[in-house]
Structure formats: structure tokens, C-alpha cells
Symmetry: C2
Subunit: 504 residues, 2 copies
């Protein structure tokens, strides 16, 4: 074995070891959220702390530093194959992010965000922004300090964006979000004053939960979700977690008086899961064995939820099944009315309840706030006013208190800045992917209409899923569509769809 080969073997073993810890921690979190007995949680948290600590120690160990130094950016790295080169690059990126923060500062930050999350729970409930404000101020200050340590290009906020969407910048986001906002705000406004709002009352009957579950499982199977490589459970807040490609679990939440909420939640998480289940086995045991970015990941959940699951073609195929699942409950509702009902657009205050169209505007408001915070052009104290005026401007609604306003999301209390844009990026990526797919897989609409979803899954596997993190988000979207992220596809898709539904 050459020195290079033996260093590489040592390096890959170290990377796999870290990945093993992450898999164990992932399983523990899944268990905590799906049914771990509450009296065992204190001890379980110690276990998580222990495993995270060991994993972190390995990732910044002298051994790791030496191995990374052995594979310099522009030297012997060329002797490595593509996968190993990317594993080295990704590991280096994580290493440099971690070693630049002094351990005591990081430890203090972990404590701060943990306290802030508890405080947020309470302050949201009591709509008490003043009480939450000092936590948020400290978290923003800590992040600004970290950015100085990490370094940044252009503006400070870019460093945060890059953590969730590698390569994404304020410059690019300003452009795509600007284009999107200019088209969507008038469209939402036109819809709000349209006289052709769809009826929706039939969606809110009492629907047996066991039958909802059966139908959700049926649709998951139709999408090609592999039940031998995953399972569906119930939680208050649905999520997907990829422990390894052979074990990608999802959860959903059944509402007794809503026929579609659990279903669309299941399809959404199912989209995330298809991604993780179909990553190439060559990447197992490396840090490339996951989705390439939050935005591309979200593009898959939203593609399946909205562009497949909320399409007319899909329901032309599956509506009969749904009617038969709930005998007598939807017999009088025509498929066209059902389609329009599940695509109702309604400007509202709460992001997680927003429809496909207005959702993007909720995200842009958060983006503008984060951008202003990290360019230090707005004070934490002024966020409620900023928030409320933006809601009025973009969505025509105004919160009556901060609990349903600026305090509604958990993200900031945990220090997740730069994450929100992923949701809207996901919609844009999804529309751009859909556009290409309809050209290259011309029978796309027919496939949905026939309930033949497997070729769609296969196309996405070939173009996206198999690569995991081997390609960057920009490489993925360019390879698929021949161009970088372009908001026009989402605008065209939304205008086509909603102008027709609302007869505008």
C-alpha cells in the first residue's frame, strides 16, 4: 500500500467513525421525538452530549488536522478520485468551521441557545417580545463574532447562508427574491380580491384516522418510498430523518377533521425521504451521504407535495381511491372542485399554515430581517415593527400580537440564521426541475395521470438523489437545466396554476 493509500484509508476510517456517531445520535433523536418515555430523557440527553462530544473531538483532532494537511487543496488531492476529493473538501470545510471557534465560546453559545429555546417557548405563548429580546440580541452578537472568526466574502450574512446553501449569497438572493416578489405580491393581491375563491368546507369533515393512515401509506408506496428502508410514525411536528440510505424514517400528524393535512405532510416528508433513500451506496460512510443543501432537499419535498401531490393530474388518478376510502363523505364533490379546494390561496399570518403561493412571501420577510440584522442596519429591538410592516406590505395582513408575529418560529432562538431562505429556494429549484423534467420526460403529466410515479422517482434519482453531496447545489441545478437558479420558472408555474384556478 502506498503512503497515499494508507493515509486515505486512515482518513476514510476517521470520517466513517464520525458518521457512525451521527447515525447513533440521529436514532436517539428519532426515538426522543416518536415515543421515548419522558422520565428517561434526562439521562438520554447525557448520552447525546457524550456522543456529540466524542464526534466533535474526532472532527477537530490533531489526527484530522494532520490528515487534511496531507491532502492539500492543490497538491496530491489531484491523485484522489472524485469521491475522495469531495470527501476531503467537505471535511476540510467542516474542520475549519469548527477549529476557528474557541471551545469556551462555543460551549457558552450552546448554553445560550438552549436557554433561549426555553425562553422562546414561553415568550411565544405570552406574546412577550421584550422578554425574549435580550436572548436574541446575544445570539445575533455571538453569530457576528463567529462570522469574524470564520471570515466572510462580500457581506457577513453570506457566511451564514453558505452553511445551509453552499455558494448562496445575498447578491444572488436579492436578485431571485426580488424578481419573485415583484410578481407574487400583485398575484396574491389579485387573488385576495377575486370572486372565484374555491369552496373548501368539504375538506373539514370528520375523517377516520385509520383510513387516513391507510391512504397515506398507499400514496407513499405509489411514490416508490421503500418500506424496507424506512417507516412511518406519528409526531406533533412531522419530520424526515435519514440515518443511512437503508433507514430513512418519516413522521406525520393525523388531524381528525382534515382529509389532506396528514396526506400532504406525508408526501412532503416522503419527498425528503426519497432523496435520502436513493443516494448512491458509494457514498455510505462519508459526509457526502446526505442531501447537498437545505434548498435542494426542500425542492424535493415541495416538488412531491405541491407539483405532484397538488396537481390536477395526480387527483384525476387518485381521487376515486380517496372517495372510496371515505365512503359517502366526498361522493358529492367533483374532482375539479376537490382540486381547487386543496389549492386555496389565503394570505395569513402563520408561515407553517401557508399555501404554496403565499409561503414564499413569508420567507422573504424573514430573509430581509436576517439580512438587515447581519448588516447591522436594524436593531433586534425594532424587529416587531419591521415584521408587522412587511406583513402588511406583502400579504396585506397584520399580527395582533408578537406571538403570531415575530415570535412564531423557533429558528432564531436556536441560532439558525440563514436557514429560512432554503424554503423558498426549494420552491424555485423545484419549479426549474419540473420545467426540465417536462421537456426530457415528456410524458410527465401523463405519468401522474396514470399513477405511474416510479419513472418520475427514477428520473430524480438519476439527476439528483444518487449524487448526495457529491455535487454542489449549483452543479446539480446547472447539470439538470443548463442554467443557474432562475426564479422565472416558479413565477410561470404559479401564475399558470393560480390564474387558472382563480379565473384571473
Amino acid at each position: 500500500m502506498s503512503e497515499l493509500q494508507s493515509k486515505l484509508a486512515e482518513f476514510r476510517q476517521l470520517v466513517a467513525k464520525i458518521k457512525s456517531y451521527e447515525e447513533a445520535i440521529g436514532l436517539i433523536y428519532w426515538d426522543m421525538r416518536t415515543g421515548a418515555p419522558k422520565k428517561g430523557l434526562a439521562s438520554r440527553s447525557e448520552v447525546v452530549g457524550q456522543l456529540s462530544g466524542e464526534s466533535f473531538k474526532l472532527s477537530v483532532s490533531p489526527q484530522m488536522g494532520e490528515l487534511l494537511a496531507y491532502f492539500p487543496e492543490n497538491g496530491r488531492e489531484d491523485e484522489l478520485d472524485t469521491i475522495n476529493r469531495r470527501v476531503v473538501r467537505e471535511t476540510r470545510k467542516e474542520y475549519e468551521r469548527s477549529v476557528k471557534i474557541p471551545p469556551d465560546k462555543y460551549q457558552a453559545y450552546v448554553v445560550l441557545t438552549s436557554q433561549a429555546e426555553s425562553a422562546w417557548e414561553e415568550c411565544k405563548h405570552t406574546s412577550d417580545y421584550a422578554k425574549f429580546q435580550p436572548y436574541l440580541e446575544k445570539i445575533v452578537a455571538a453569530n457576528l463574532e463567529f462570522i469574524d472568526l470564520w471570515g466572510y466574502e462580500g457581506t457577513k450574512y453570506n457566511t451564514l447562508l453558505d452553511m445551509y446553501e453552499p455558494g448562496m449569497t445575498v447578491e444572488k438572493l436579492d436578485q431571485v427574491f426580488g424578481a419573485l416578489r415583484d410578481k407574487l405580491v400583485p398575484l396574491v393581491s389579485a387573488i385576495a380580491s377575486s370572486r372565484n375563491a374555491p369552496a373548501t368546507s368539504f375538506l373539514r369533515q370528520r375523517f377516520d384516522i385509520e383510513k387516513q393512515k391507510k391512504f397515506s401509506l398507499f400514496i407513499l408506496g405509489q411514490m416508490g418510498y421503500d418500506f424496507e428502508a424506512g417507516r412511518l410514525d406519528e409526531t406533533v411536528h412531522p419530520f424526515a430523518t435519514g440515518l443511512n440510505p437503508g433507514d430513512v424514517r418519516i413522521t406525520t400528524r393525523y388531524l381528525p377533521e382534515d382529509v389532506v393535512s396528514a396526506l400532504f405532510g406525508t408526501i412532503h416528508e416522503g419527498g425528503h425521504a426519497l432523496y435520502e433513500q436513493n443516494i448512491s451506496s458509494d457514498l455510505i460512510g462519508t459526509n457526502l451521504c446526505t442531501g447537498t443543501s437545505m434548498g435542494i432537499h426542500e425542492s424535493q419535498s415541495r416538488f412531491w407535495e405541491n407539483m405532484v401531490g397538488r396537481s390536477r393530474e395526480f387527483w384525476n388518478r387518485y381521487y376515486g381511491e380517496l372517495q372510496r376510502t371515505f365512503p359517502g363523505q366526498l361522493d358529492q364533490v367533483h374532482v375539479e372542485d376537490f382540486y381547487r379546494g386543496i389549492n386555496e390561496v389565503k394570505p395569513s399570518l402563520i408561515r407553517i399554515e401557508a399555501d404554496e403561493l403565499t409561503y414564499n412571501l413569508h420567507i422573504m420577510i424573514r430573509y430581509e430581517i436576517e439580512k438587515a440584522l447581519f448588516s447591522e442596519s436594524v436593531k433586534v429591538a425594532d424587529l416587531p415593527e419591521f415584521w408587522n410592516s412587511k406583513y402588511k406590505e406583502y400579504l396585506g395582513v397584520e399580527p395582533s400580537n408578537d406571538g403570531e408575529g415575530v415570535l412564531q418560529d423557533v429558528h432564531w432562538s436556536g441560532g439558525s440564521f440563514g436557514y429560512f431562505p432554503s424554503y423558498a429556494l426549494g420552491n424555485m429549484y423545484a419549479a426549474q426541475i419540473r420545467h426540465t423534467m417536462r421537456q426530457k420526460l415528456p410524458q410527465f403529466d401523463e405519468l401522474a395521470e396514470q399513477g405511474n410515479l416510479i419513472p418520475i422517482k427514477k428520473w430524480l434519482t438519476d439527476e439528483i438523489y444518487q449524487y448526495g453531496k457529491l455535487l454542489t447545489p449549483n452543479e446539480i441545478i446547472t447539470q439538470i437545466s443548463g442554467e443557474e437558479l432562475n426564479p422565472d420558472y416558479l413565477v410561470a408555474y404559479l401564475e399558470d396554476k393560480y390564474k387558472e384556478i382563480y379565473k384571473l
Copy 2:
């Protein structure tokens, strides 16, 4: 902080770290057995290997060796409080067991037993002892070699017994098993020729699984099982696993045509769980935070299953509930007939299906084989003959092939020698504990008859559960009953119970 205090803190942290790994591994095994997707298992095994390896490395690390040397057996250890003294003692015992086996030999043994377990599965199925024999020969030889490295007192087999039942010896077992056998063989024989066998056909109707589940959960609650510190799932082979006292999970298996199988399985595992749920919180994060021995653990599962769950008093209280749970199915069956039916004694070939009485004889046969193997007075090749003649002698039945004979149990293929006696020890401990409990808690029978099981649980918590591994099995039984293990209590209990049922 004194040097002693700081060494102690370092030591306890190391012990807690090992315990954390064990908790994580325990959860992974629980998940593997209750519903982990099968395609993820290969990767999950790597994770288990990784965590076990880290834990083992810590347990035999130079740091551990130095700390243990700091607390010598007869020196500064006296400055420690009881708990710390016992933690040191237990850790030293584990350390010495581990360091004495050369790593390559241990590694080879792990591979051997893993191959042997696979071979056993197949050989049991095809009744092919000849094919399994070489594996068993190697496993026995490896254990003999290990015993030479570990050292032994009296006979070699003692070292194996001590791993499951600290302090237990062949001398003691010969005495108690001999006394037991002398009484039970004639009793079983008398029962086999009795004309008063109870009717049992009413137990084998179709019993709705959901209702069985509901009734099992009800009984678990009555026993004082804490559902906020555990959960009940389904598996083919029921088990209990204590991850920490706040998270003790059990499983059961519902048979559609048997009203009591799942119930008694649940009570059995529930007994194990009560033990683990009620260990003192002072012991959390130490290696004392578990049952003191396999025998004492089994005494609790069997006490609850047989001495409570199969008692007349218990059913005087709960039979009405059972009848109401399955309307129309047991209405014609009198509680007395039900009581006799669930206590049927029937000499049989298969240990895990044996009744409370004959079970002990199945164990003694295995004990005599293990003892002979490790005194090298019988060859592995001769085990089938040995087995069959003992079954004829003790139980009056003979296997028609080795699959239902010597190959029936998984234990030996995994290298678990010395474990089997625990099951019969459990019965003896349970009877001895019951005897004392009826004196010190004179209303014991009434409590069961009233369905007031909590004082029973409390008494067991005070006398046994809280101590975890802080006391040895011998200390526990002596502290409770004023004498060492004595087989007469089990003999008296079984004779009283079964002579009455069979009208002998």
C-alpha cells in the same frame, strides 16, 4: 478538592462515559428488534461495532488501569463511601476479566460465536447436530482457555457461573439442584399419571388481539409499571431492556388463539421492568444501576408471572375483568377451572414452552451438561445421547430429533455457558422471597385478592429493587430471609400448589 476527590471524580466520569455507550447500544438493539427497517441493519451493525469498540477501549484503557490502581483493594478504598467502593469493586472485576484475554483471541472468539449462531439457526432447522458439533467444540475449547487466563477456584465451571450469578459455585448448585430434583421428579411423575388433569381447551379460542393488548396494559398498570418510564411493544421473542431507570422497555407477543400467552409474557417482562425502574437514582451513571444477577432478575419476572399472576388470589380479583374483556368467550368457565387450566403441568420437550413446575428440570439437564463439559467428563460429540437420556430420566419424554433436543436453545452457540442455572435459581429465590414476604407483609394474599398490588411492589422495591447491584445476590437473599439460598421453599410452594390442583 483533595487528590482522592479529584481521582474519584475522574473515575466516576469514566464509568459514566462507559455507561452512556451502553445506553446508546441498548437503544439501538431495542430498535433493531422492534422495527428498524431491514435495509439499514448492515450500516447499523457498523455503528454498534464502533460504539462497543470505544466503550471497550475505555474499560481497559491505561487511564482506567491507573485509576483502579489508585484505589487498591485494601487501602484508600476504605475512605470511599459504600456506593463508590462497590463501583470500584465492580469496575475492577470487569477490568480484570477484559484485560486478561489477548485482543486477537477475543476478536477470533467474537467471529466464531457469530458464525456459530448462524450455523445453529440452520442446524436446528435441519436437526443436524454433526454439522454444529465442530462449532460447539471450538467454543467450549475457547472458554476453557479463557478460564485458564481468568483463573478459577474449585472447578473451572465456577468462573462461568460467577459471570451471571456472582458467588455461585458448582458445590452450592449441586446441593440445591439435587434437593430440588429429588422432590420434583417424583412429583412430575405423579402428576403425569394423575386422573385429575385440568381442562384447557377454553384457553385456545380466538381472542381479539386489540383486547388482549388492552388487558395486558391494564394488568401492567395494576402491577405499578410506570408508563412514563417505559413502553410496551411487540416482538417475536419478548424481552425487557433497562436503558436507564426512567426508560425500561418491554415487549410481548400476542397469539390470536391463546388468551394467556401474551398476558403472562407481559407480566414476566413487567417483573424484570419493575426491578429496573425502581433502582435508586443514586446509582444512575454507574455500573451498579442494573439487577444484581441474572438469578435475582429472573426471580422477579417469575415471582410476578407465576406466584402473583398464576395464583388463585390474583384471578379471584381479575377473572371478572378478563371475562368482560372477551364477552361470551369465558362466561361458562368458572374461575376455579380457569385457575387450574392456566396451571396445567405437562412434561414436554421444549424449555421455553414448559410450565412452572417442569421448567426447573429442563434447566437441571442443561446444568449437568455444562458442568460435565467444563470438567471435561463428557465430549461435545456425546451431548445428544446425554441430553436424550436425561430427558427420559427427569421428564419421561424423549426428543425424536436433535432440533427439538440438544439444538433447541441459542445460548451455547453464542458462548453463554453458566447462564441456564439462573432460570431455576430465579424460581428458588422467588419462592424464598415469597415465603418471607407472607410473614412480613401478612396481608399478602389479601392484597392480591383485592388487586392491590402496589404494596407488594413497594416491599420488593425496599428489599431488592432499590439496591441494583449495590448488594450481591447472596447479600440480598440473606438480608431478606435471614438465610442463604434454600431450595426447600420452592419445593414446599410447588408441592402445596400442585398437589392441590392435581388432588394428589
